[in-house]
């Protein structure tokens, strides 16, 4: 019993203090970490591929009129799986290594895009899903129902 106790204390001493001084020293995430979702609104053509594959269904698309499509991204509900980045044919979406996303105002994590749509991109032909399981669920006029009561 005593021998094992001494051995334990030696292990503890040899390991030294492993506590990271995180808030005082920065703690970078590993390369390839799936962190914050950044949207390059110029490249996004509004095809809706990301909205279909998102498991948490936090990308909502509403066609206000045949020419205006509104895409709302609720990034506070995002589970950072990186599927939208994979599926986006125009690599408009990218998950960087940033993980400090805590805010007091939900608007910081809410992106709304209003796109002027040409005629063709609502028929989905220009978006080729990588596997048959990811094809467009709904083609044509889309009206994603908003989060009830939580107007942001």
């Amino acid at each position: 019993m005593i021998a094992s106790k001494i051995r334990q204390i030696l292990i503890g001493k040899r390991a030294g203090s492993v506590t990271l001084k995180y808030p005082f020293e920065p703690r970078p995430s590993e390369p390839g970490y799936r962190g914050r979702v950044t949207v390059d609104t110029d490249k996004c053509v509004g095809c809706g591929g990301c909205a279909d594959v998102c498991p948490a269904r936090c990308i909502l698309i509403t066609d206000v009129s045949p020419f205006i499509r509104i895409i709302r991204r609720y990034l506070d509900r995002c589970i950072h799986c990186g599927r939208c980045e994979e599926v986006c044919a125009y690599d408009a979406l990218h998950l960087d290594g940033e993980y400090e996303l805590a805010t007091t105002d939900r608007k910081d994590l809410f992106i709304e895009q209003k796109l002027f749509m040409g005629t063709c991109n609502r028929c989905g032909r220009c978006y080729i899903p990588p596997t048959p399981l990811d094809r467009l669920m709904v083609v044509g006029f889309r009206k994603d129902e908003d989060l009830d009561g939580e107007t942001i």
């Binding site: 106790k5 204390i9 503890g12 001493k13 203090s17 492993v18 506590t19």
Partner: protein
């Protein structure tokens, strides 16, 4: 003069208890054993906890008896401080002439009873379970201390702690006292409520027993009671059972006793850092063996008296 010494004793108990506890938490438990940084404010962490609690809201249980819940921590802390007045830290104790070994034992008992009645007054089954564990352990650990002091009484022909202290320092080394000292040191681990014997307030089993329904300032007072009681027990052990360093000047004696207490605290803190918690029946078996050792010491003392 005794009044002044009394104030010194009370202030010392109230502040040395939490400081030493904070010290062992940081430098022995965190840095040495758990290889982690430990609290930022170092040894003052226990004070920070206590003062935070003093400001918090005071919760009483609807099903229990409010008056007893209110009184218990107060009576407990005051009994621990009175007991600290009886321990001759600096060779003489403020209440030394007015009390003796049995009065000291029963004042500590009064503190334990106050905690138990306060816990039972809340009516929570966890409080009952925790306080009954404490009493079961008290029934086995208290005789160990009593037998060791019995040996000291037999040799020094008096029940006063001061006389026992003076006799032991004059006598120097004596076998029964050594056996008694060993038994009391092992008993200290349970009286401190440190692992492996913190069975009464085992957070994982009975959600910290007597502490479950107490919050805010009363929880701070109860913690302070346990911390002061630890200091008192350590003081008693270092003065009566470790027979070195009695000079003429009380101040020097006090410093020597504090050093001895500091060493005892770190030893107990070290054991606490690397031991799992034993069950109540295992603890009873361990302390029955220690009881036999203490009995042996007492018999030897009476034979050689």
């Amino acid at each position: 003069m005794l009044i002044g010494l009394g104030i010194v004793h009370i202030v010392l108990t109230l502040f040395a208890g939490p400081f030493l506890d904070g010290f062992t938490r940081k430098y022995i438990k965190a840095n040495l054993a758990h290889s982690r940084e430990g609290p930022l404010v170092g040894p003052w962490q226990t004070f920070v906890d206590l003062f935070k609690l003093l400001g918090k809201e005071d919760l009483f249980t609807a099903g229990g008896i409010i008056s007893l819940q209110m009184l218990a921590p107060l009576v407990a802390l005051s009994s621990a401080l009175v007991a600290s007045l009886m321990v001759p830290l600096s060779g003489i104790a403020p209440l030394g002439a007015q009390s003796d070994m049995i009065v000291f034992l029963y004042t500590i008992g009064l503190g334990a009873v106050a905690v138990v009645i306060g816990a039972m007054a809340t009516g929570s089954p966890y409080a009952y379970a925790g306080s009954l564990r404490e009493i079961s352990l008290y029934l086995i650990v208290e005789p160990v201390l009593m037998l060791a002091m019995l040996g000291a009484m037999a040799l020094s022909r008096s029940l006063h702690l001061e006389d026992q202290l003076r006799w032991h320092y004059a006598q120097g080394f004596s076998l029964p006292m050594l056996i008694g000292a060993v038994a009391v040191f092992v008993a200290l681990q349970a009286q401190f409520g440190k692992l492996p014997f913190d069975i009464a307030e085992a957070e994982q089993e009975v959600i910290s027993g007597p502490f479950i329904e107490i919050s805010g300032p009363r929880l701070a007072l109860l913690r302070w009671f346990f911390l002061s009681r630890q200091f008192v027990f350590a003081g008693l052990f270092c003065t009566v059972f470790l027979p070195w360093g009695l000079t003429a000047y009380p101040v020097v004696n006090l410093l020597i006793t504090l050093v001895k207490i500091f060493v005892v605290y770190s030893l107990i803190g070290l054991i606490d850092a690397v031991m799992p918690r034993v069950r109540i029946d295992q603890a009873l078996r361990v302390y029955f063996a220690v009881l036999i050792i203490a009995l042996l010491g007492a018999v030897l003392a009476f034979v050689s008296a």
